[in-house]
Subunit: 134 residues, 2 copies
């Protein structure tokens, strides 16, 4: 994803593309991981040493609001940001705590439309275990 694409994405979403915001968006949208806000801050500071934590947090929240990102809350309460906005499942590594994305089509869930009293809008499967050593 090029800087130009990021800028036009921001504009499309009604976000003024300032240098700080572009840097934040670059970092998190390109990431294959699921970075915390602080990880983004650390990364952005490399090229933009004066950026404040507040700006990073505000920008990330803005991106979530505009649906360019999703958030996940880990079991220890910290929030991570996920540029992968399409529906997918998650696998959480017991040892490292790393979150891995699992393609939607890898699993089939039956019965969610049959729950009496519940109108299910979306769902996802969260799996826990170990990565296979191989």
């Amino acid at each position: 994803m090029t800087v130009k694409e990021i800028i036009s994405l921001l504009k499309q979403s009604g976000i003024q593309p300032t240098p700080q915001r572009i840097a934040v968006a670059e970092c998190v949208l390109r990431s294959k991981r699921h970075p915390t806000a602080d990880a983004v801050w650390t990364s952005v500071k490399r090229k933009h040493p004066t950026v404040s934590r507040a700006t990073v947090y505000n920008t990330l929240n803005l991106l979530v609001e505009k649906q360019l990102l999703r958030t996940h809350v880990l079991t220890d309460g910290t929030t991570v940001f996920d540029p992968h906005v399409e529906l997918h499942h998650h696998f959480i590594d017991d040892e490292t705590g790393e979150i891995h994305d699992i393609p939607w089509a890898a699993l089939k869930v039956k019965g969610s439309d049959l729950l009496p009293g519940f109108d299910v809008r979306e769902y996802q499967v969260i799996m826990r275990g170990r990565r296979k050593k191989r």
Copy 2:
């Protein structure tokens, strides 16, 4: 669940059943909801006005450690305690944020054993939507 049952449950788990701990355990083990630590504190204070937040937190963590409770972290980062330790799924109400337990047997998930590179120990389905008005 009677007080006697709770006391013997605590003893079985190697937890000394003090009045405060019994009160905390009573509150959270009997609850059909998923209370936060603060909700437990508020509730326990009714009968035990001098109990401290620290004791409630310590006791809840102890119960989790001894596997009499599970925790869930909500999207806003707060932790709730779930006396329902058997495997089950969850439905989260979009409007109220309430967590509802869904019996394990209500859903069928296929494919979790087929993920290359992942050794799935457990999984659960998290659904979001609205309660049906009826």
